[in-house]
Amino acid sequence: MTEPRSSPARIRRTALILAAVAVAVYLGFILLGAIRG
């Protein structure tokens, strides 16, 4: 990749935000299970 269209920092930031969303959904549903189960 010689000429990125977006800066590596922005790419990393987007990826980290999405990963954080995935982790939050995972923990959120376990919390839901704990409350309702």
């Binding site: 269209r5 977006s6 549903f29 299970g33 704990a34």
Partner: protein, 536 residues
């Protein structure tokens, strides 16, 4: 019309260094084309493994009575067939296509996170080795159904933790793949390619990736709770400890219904690429297709309980989930209308990819209509857990998702290999597949309406004739797929006419501006896309 212009340098760039030699090329792969190829080969392998299990199931069901397998093993076959086909065949095939085509279609040099891409793929063989190894354990493979409902699934033997670990691995792989696709599409598009100018396959994958990100962690959460219920003394779903088994079903189907769309939305994208090429017209209603896709994705989050009408729920709940489910027919109808309108007065030709696309329209619609029947609460109470449901989702997934993937493979194979596939064999493969898929699945509607339950190895003699017909269809369909393998192998070996860069008659899209086979590195310099709407 397309005015995407590949930079001459970009089209031939990347020749300065080729792929690594030998096994290192594949194990350490970071190139999106190599990883895409590995995904596709893996999914084809799993397609045959899952298909073999399906043939064992159908062989047992050829006649009433127990012939070949015992009931416990039969349950393992149905469970593993579903898990392998969903997570091992259909999903990786779509991810493989995304890996190959998304960077090429948006003019990106590679996926945004190539090393993570390598990891996403290489998790899968380990996950499926774990899962398949359970066949050789004491007690055998998982047998409680792919839905893993407690308390039944908690009564499994040693295979249970292996199943849970394998599901976690598949989930991690899918989530990383989804992150990679979203980041690539949002950050690495060619400079003039606005979101609405993106090809429909890219759009379908952007939406699918968001669905994956939203629901794969839900499945992971559900199976984590199963694991802790089994081994760590919790009672999320155990009624004896104050837990709620129905809660599991709600959580599972909150994942499970969007999962259906994860398997079909990329298929919609593929069909939206194939039909315009062979109708020689731009896609009708490009923007409305995007809105329809988004609408379907949104609705998929609010219809989960239609899988659970027989569990019992308040009338308002039944009405909500029934009407919300029926509402999905509206954006789906928009898509079918747009594809038909694209073909209307087009200068059509019927090469193999187009045949698969047209077959998709008819047969997927049958699956859609039977889905509408199942959405009706009082009818669903009759159809629930019968072969009607089996017929419904197989029509959606086989002549739906699988036919779209086969169409895509024929459509892009010349771009991947540089060789035209054998059109005669391709058409033979298409006709045999289309005939046998109907012989296989259509009788299941009648079986279900007559009351034959799912997941049973033996049945009343009144169901014998349709079961025998379905089994003949299964054998025919399975054998027909060997033609596909032969056609692909011949193309990979270069046995056939050389493909041009465009391959087809003036197809639209950036992927057709690079030579065939696509060089190892493409678009190192961003291509130019004219300001004129490229695909509308």
């Amino acid at each position: 019309m397309t005015t995407a212009v590949a930079d001459g340098h970009a089209a031939h760039a990347g020749e300065h260094h080729g792929p690594q030699k030998g096994w290192r090329r594949w194990v350490f792969a970071t190139n999106h084309k190599d990883i895409g190829t590995m995904y596709l080969v893996f999914s084809l392998t799993m397609f045959f493994v899952g298909g073999t299990l399906a043939l064992l199931i159908r062989t047992e069901l050829f006649q009433p009575g127990l012939q070949f397998v015992n009931p416990a093993f039969f349950n393992q076959l149905t469970t593993m067939h579903a898990l392998i086909m969903i997570f091992g065949a259909v999903m990786p095939s779509m991810v493989g296509l995304a890996n190959w085509m998304v960077p090429l279609q948006i003019g990106a040099p590679d996926m945004a996170l190539p090393r993570m891409n390598n990891w996403s793929f290489w998790i899968l063989p380990f996950a499926f080795t774990l899962l398949l190894s359970t066949f050789f354990m004491q007690g055998g493979a998982p047998a409680g159904g792919w839905t893993m409902y407690p308390p039944l699934t908690l009564q499994m033997g040693n295979s249970f933790p292996f199943l849970i670990f394998a599901i976690h691995l598949m989930g991690i792989s899918s989530i990383m793949g989804a992150i990679n696709i979203i980041v690539t599409i949002l950050n690495l598009r060619a400079p003039d390619m606005s979101l609405l100018k993106m090809p429909m396959f890219v759009w379908s994958w952007l939406i699918t990736a968001y669905l994956l990100l939203g629901v794969m962690p839900v499945l992971a959460g559900a199976v984590t709770m199963l694991l802790t219920d089994q081994f760590f003394g919790t009672s999320f779903f155990l009624a004896a400890g104050g837990g709620d088994p129905v809660l599991y079903q709600h959580i599972f189907w909150f994942f499970g219904h969007p999962e259906v769309y994860i398997m079909i939305l990329p298929a919609f994208g593929i069909i939206s690429e194939i039909i315009p090429t062979f109708a020689r017209k731009p896609l009708f209603g490009h923007e409305s297709m995007v809105y329809a896709l988004s609408c379907i994705a949104f609705l998929s989050f609010v219809v989960w309980a239609h899988h659970m009408f027989t569990v019992g729920m308040p009338l308002t709940g039944q009405l909500f989930f029934m009407f919300a489910t029926m509402l999905i027919a509206v954006p789906t109808g928009v898509k079918i209308f747009n594809w038909t309108a694209t073909m209307w007065r087009g200068s059509m030709t019927f090469e193999t990819p187009m045949l698969f696309a047209i077959s998709f329209l008819f047969l997927f619609s049958i699956g859609g209509f039977s889905g509408l029947m199942l959405a009706i609460v009082p009818a669903d109470i009759q159809y629930h857990d019968t072969y009607f449901v089996v017929a419904h989702f197989h029509y959606v997934l086989v002549p739906g998702s699988v036919f779209a993937v086969l169409g895509a493979a024929y459509y892009w194979l010349p771009k991947w290999t540089g060789t035209m596939y054998n059109e005669t064999l391709g058409k033979l493969h298409f006709w045999l597949s289309t005939i046998f898929v109907n012989v296989l699945f259509f009788p299941m509607h009648f079986l279900g309406l007559a009351g034959m339950p799912r997941r049973i190895p033996d049945y009343s003699t009144q169901f014998a004739d349709f079961n025998a017909i379905a089994t003949i269809g299964a054998i025919g369909f399975g054998l027909s797929q060997l033609i596909f393998v032969y056609v692909v192998v011949q193309a990979v070996r270069g046995k056939g006419k050389r493909a041009t860069a465009e391959v087809w008659d003036h197809p639209k899209g950036l992927e057709w501006t690079v030579p065939s086979p696509a060089p190892h590195h493409t678009f190192e310099t961003p291509p130019r896309v004219s300001t004129e709407a490229a695909f509308t």
